[in-house]
Symmetry: C2
Subunit: 175 residues, 2 copies
C-alpha cells in the first residue's frame, strides 16, 4: 500500500534477475491474481484504524479503515489477520484551512480536500488466492474508481515485505 | 471545539460587559448545562467525517467522527443537524514514522501517536438543553477520560459562532 520509489523498483527488478528465490517470486507474481476488480462495498462506513499525513509528492492526508474482521483482529492485537480481513485507506489532498486558521488566529490547520489521484487502496486477506504476495491482494483506485494497472500493483508487496512481523500491514491501530 | 486564543477570550468577555445582547448570552451561559458528564458510548466505532492536522501548540493529527444521526445529515447535506446528532473528534500526537520513512526512502510520513491532553471532544445536539449555545453541548476529555473543567468549555461556543451557517460545525464531510 506504500508507494515505491523508482529506485526501489529498479533494485527489486535487478534482484529478480540475479537470485533464484526472487526469480521464483517473480514467476509466482506473474501468475497471481491481484485484487483490482472492484472497490469493497461499504468501505466508507468502516471503522477507523488510524490517520496519517504523507508529505512530499503524495501530499495527502489519509484515513486508514478496516472492515469488521480487520478491526476485530487489530483490537485483539492478533496477527496474522484472519481470512476476509480488508484494510483500506482513503487519501485526500492536504490543504490549509483558511476558515480554521482565522478562528485559531494563526496558520496551523490542515484538512482533507478533494480525493487524490491514488484515492483508494485496499489490502484483502485471502491466503490461498494471494499466496504469492503474503496472503494479501493489493488494489488501488483513482478518484473515478478506475483501478491502477496491474503492473504497478506488483510494486506493493516488495515494500510491504519490510513489515512481515505485523502481517505486512504498516498502519498500527490508534487508541 | 476550536481552541480560543486569549485575545478572543478577552474580546468576548469585554463585549459581554458593554452590550446588552452579549450580557444576556453570558447570563444564559451561566445557567446552561454543558455536556461533560460522560464520553458517548461506542464513539470509537463511529464513521469518519474527515481528518485533519493541527500544527503549532496542538501538534496533533485527528479523526472527526459522527454518530449515525450526524453522518446521515452530513451525507444528505442537511443543516441544521437533527436532535441526537453527535460529532466527535479524537486527537493523537503528530509523530514522524521512521518505519514508513525508511520504506519511502525519504522523510515524509507522519502518523498518529499517543492520545493528546485534549484527546476527545464531542458536540451533542439538543436544541432545548443547549439552547444558549446554538443547540449544541460541548465536551472535552483528556487521555484518562477526565472532563475539561466547565469554565474552559465556555470558550467553545464563541468560536463556533463563526460558522453558524453550517450549524456551528467546522469540519466538512470528506468524500
Amino acid at each position: 500500500m506504500k508507494r515505491i520509489t523508482l529506485l526501489l523498483i529498479a533494485v527489486t527488478l535487478a534482484g529478480a534477475v540475479f537470485t533464484a528465490t526472487t526469480s521464483r517470486y517473480a514467476a509466482a507474481q506473474e501468475a497471481a491474481p491481484i485484487f483490482v476488480k472492484e472497490i469493497p462495498a461499504g468501505y466508507r462506513d468502516w471503522k477507523v484504524v488510524s490517520v496519517a499525513h504523507e508529505a512530499g509528492e503524495l501530499n495527502d492526508i489519509r484515513a486508514v479503515l478496516g472492515n469488521d474482521i480487520a478491526i476485530k483482529a487489530y483490537r485483539a492485537g492478533k496477527f496474522p489477520f484472519p481470512e476476509g480481513a480488508i484494510v483500506g485507506r482513503i487519501a485526500w489532498s492536504y490543504i490549509s484551512s483558511e476558515e480554521n486558521n482565522k478562528t485559531f488566529g494563526r496558520d496551523q490547520s490542515f484538512v482533507a480536500g478533494s480525493p487524490t489521484d491514488a484515492y483508494l487502496q485496499f489490502m484483502v486477506k485471502d491466503s490461498k488466492k494471494y499466496a504469492a504476495t503474503g496472503g494479501w491482494g493489493y488494489s488501488s483506485f483513482d478518484k473515478n474508481g478506475k483501478p491502477t494497472d496491474e503492473a504497478a500493483m506488483k510494486a506493493c508487496f516488495p515494500c510491504h515485505q519490510a513489515i512481515k512481523d505485523r502481517d505486512y500491514i504498516f498502519t498500527r491501530y490508534a487508541p
